[in-house]
Amino acid sequence: MKIDVKKVAKLANLPLTSDEEEKYSQQLSKILDYIEQLNKVDTSKVEPTYNVSGQKNIQRADEIGECQPQNDAILNAPQKKEGFFSVKKILDNE
């Protein structure tokens, strides 16, 4: 199984060095080869399982409760400004 490591790294927002690209290309191909065995299983009449708890749409009353103070919430932010998270601009034109 060949995997386009550059493309996947871009989708994953994961900067990789060329050494890493090489290494992951080999390792992931081997892992994907192993995973190929799932094709031996007939799942044509099987529903997928995404969650095993059997719970869905848990609801609660919409009540005001305690919440994290603003300063605590941004305590770990690498960059902050006037009590807010500071983020990079993502749009080129305003």
């Binding site: 995997i3 490591v5 996947v8 790294a9 989708l11 994953a12 927002n13 994961l14 900067p15 990789l16 890493e20 992951y24 390792q27 992931l28 081997k30 892992i31 994907l32 192993y34 995973i35 065995q37 799932l38 094709n39 299983v41 799942t43 099987v46 529903e47 997928p48 399982t49 995404y50 969650n51 095993v52 708890s53 059997g54 719970q55 848990i58 609660r60 994290q68 605590d72 919430a73 941004i74 305590l75 770990n76 932010a77 690498p78 998270f85 983020v87």
Partner: protein, 455 residues
């Protein structure tokens, strides 16, 4: 009192109540051991000097208010949670204190403890061997008597496997029995917090303390209907052990299992029969697909959960992820990407249904299922680090129960070449009590759990 640190949680509580020692003496005894041994074993990433409370180790992927929580990663090397995980809050209400944060494979990804950005933890039984993973430090801490008990998390075996390799009791409760709130998420449909203890009774007590809804984890909620956890009186606890139906899956004794480990597990199963259990041979036919299924589902969820580390709210740059998180983010992103989703993620989710169905059918005939936790005893450092697939295959007996969400216990059941072997006991979804009852019956009839490593 001498040897305070060998006491179980139940014995420690009794000793305190009877004033055989004070909380200060208790804490000092453990701190002294930590100062003597932590450098050698690399168990604690952070040590807290308390004079009060029952000292517990907390896996460093579980949020602790105002105590650095790194997830074993460079990316969170300075992260100080502003809140406690529910499991931590619940322990604190029972007079537990945090003696330290335990080392782990980065973001709980690994089966040997070697993937920590802060160096590997050593196995207290032989410091040249891995302790297992990912809850490496929590397992080693309890084995070396550096805390009364420890919390860990189990996504594909991360409590049961290191418990087996370090010779302590490890409980992965049913998925949804214990709130995940405050765990740094790895794979959300699989993550379960649980305990490492010196006895099965301790595991039961801690489950009692930490289980139940908190309003912050929708998968941890009591509901009317089939998924409601069984009331205690329906469990095996009150019943006699005689006649308990113990399933032995033939797929757990096929190729890959070390013959010495196999012999020890079979002896343990025979012991259960001697104690009155009825052995039933069963089949879990999709076991061979569990590792492939698990690695697709888990890594897909990992790639989604770890997207939050974008250097906006916390943490450093994404380059700072270690090799294993990067590998899993890549595998997961690939499995979920357009054109591959149906062949990988959706396919694995369907095979997961079949794996779960294997268990459902088996539990119509038996009360618990037993087998090995790990195909081998603890291995040498570096042995599987160059070959990720080889490392993944060591999870073959633990990932099926994770995919099905059922409870699993590892209890000490012998030694091979001086290294501990654990017996795995699996139960029906939400019937954690059955697993504990069978574990306790075995524990009371054997002395493996009181053996200690020479350090």
């Amino acid at each position: 009192m001498n040897n305070i640190t060998i006491l179980t949680l139940a014995e420690t509580l009794k000793g305190l109540k009877e004033k055989k020692f004070s909380e200060e003496e208790l804490n000092n005894a453990y701190l002294e051991k930590i100062y003597n041994l932590n450098k050698k074993l690399n168990i604690f990433l952070e040590i807290k000097k308390n004079a009060r409370g029952i000292p517990a180790g907390i896996k460093d992927i579980i949020s602790t208010k105002n105590i650095r929580t790194t997830a074993g990663s460079k990316i969170l090397s300075n992260y100080i949670p502003p809140f406690n995980a529910t499991v931590v809050d619940r322990l604190l209400k029972h007079d537990v204190s945090i003696i330290g944060k335990t080392n782990l494979d980065e973001f709980a990804m690994g089966s040997s403890g070697e993937n920590s950005a802060y160096g590997p933890t050593k196995n207290p039984w032989d410091v040249t061997k891995v302790p297992g993973g990912s809850s490496a430090g929590s397992a080693a801490a309890v084995a070396a008597d550096l805390c009364v008990f420890a919390l860990g998390t189990d996504t594909g075996g991360s409590i049961r496997q290191p418990a087996s390799l370090c010779g302590v009791v490890g409980l992965k409760p049913s998925y949804g029995r214990v709130s995940r709130y405050g765990l740094i998420a790895m794979a959300s449909s699989l993550d379960v917090p649980g305990s490492f203890t010196k006895s099965v009774a301790d595991a039961r007590l801690i489950l009692d303390w930490i289980a139940g809804p908190d309003g912050f984890d929708s998968n941890c909620a009591h509901l009317e209907g089939e998924s409601k956890p069984k009331p205690r009186e329906h469990s095996l606890r009150e019943a006699s052990f005689r006649g308990v139906r113990v399933g032995v899956p033939k797929e757990y004794f096929e190729k890959g299992l070390d013959p010495k480990v196999e012999k020890i597990i079979k002896d343990a199963i025979n012991k259960l029969e001697e104690l009155g259990a009825r052995l039933v041979e069963i089949s879990l036919p999709h076991t061979e697909y569990a590792v492939a299924t698990y690695y697709i589902i888990m890594s897909s969820e990992v790639s989604s959960n770890l997207a939050r580390f974008d250097r906006v709210r916390f943490g450093s740059n994404r380059e700072d992820f270690g090799a294993e998180p990067k590998r899993r983010i890549m595998l997961g992103t690939y499995s979920l990407s357009s054109g591959y989703y149906d062949d990988y993620f959706a396919k694995a989710a369907k095979v997961r249904t079949l794996i779960k169905k294997d268990f459902d059918e088996a539990f119509e005939k038996v009360d618990v299922i037993v087998g090995p936790v790990s195909p081998t005893v603890a291995w040498d450092f570096g042995e599987k680090m160059k070959d990720p697939l080889m490392m993944y295959l060591s999870d073959a007996y633990t990932v099926p129960a994770s995919l099905a969400g059922i409870p699993g216990l590892s209890i000490p059941c012998g030694f091979s070449d001086g290294l501990p072997v654990g017996l795995q006991i699996l139960g029906k979804f939400m019937d954690d009590e059955a697993v504990l009852s069978v574990g306790e019956a075995y524990e009371q009839a054997t002395e493996w759990h009181i053996k200690k490593p020479q350090l």
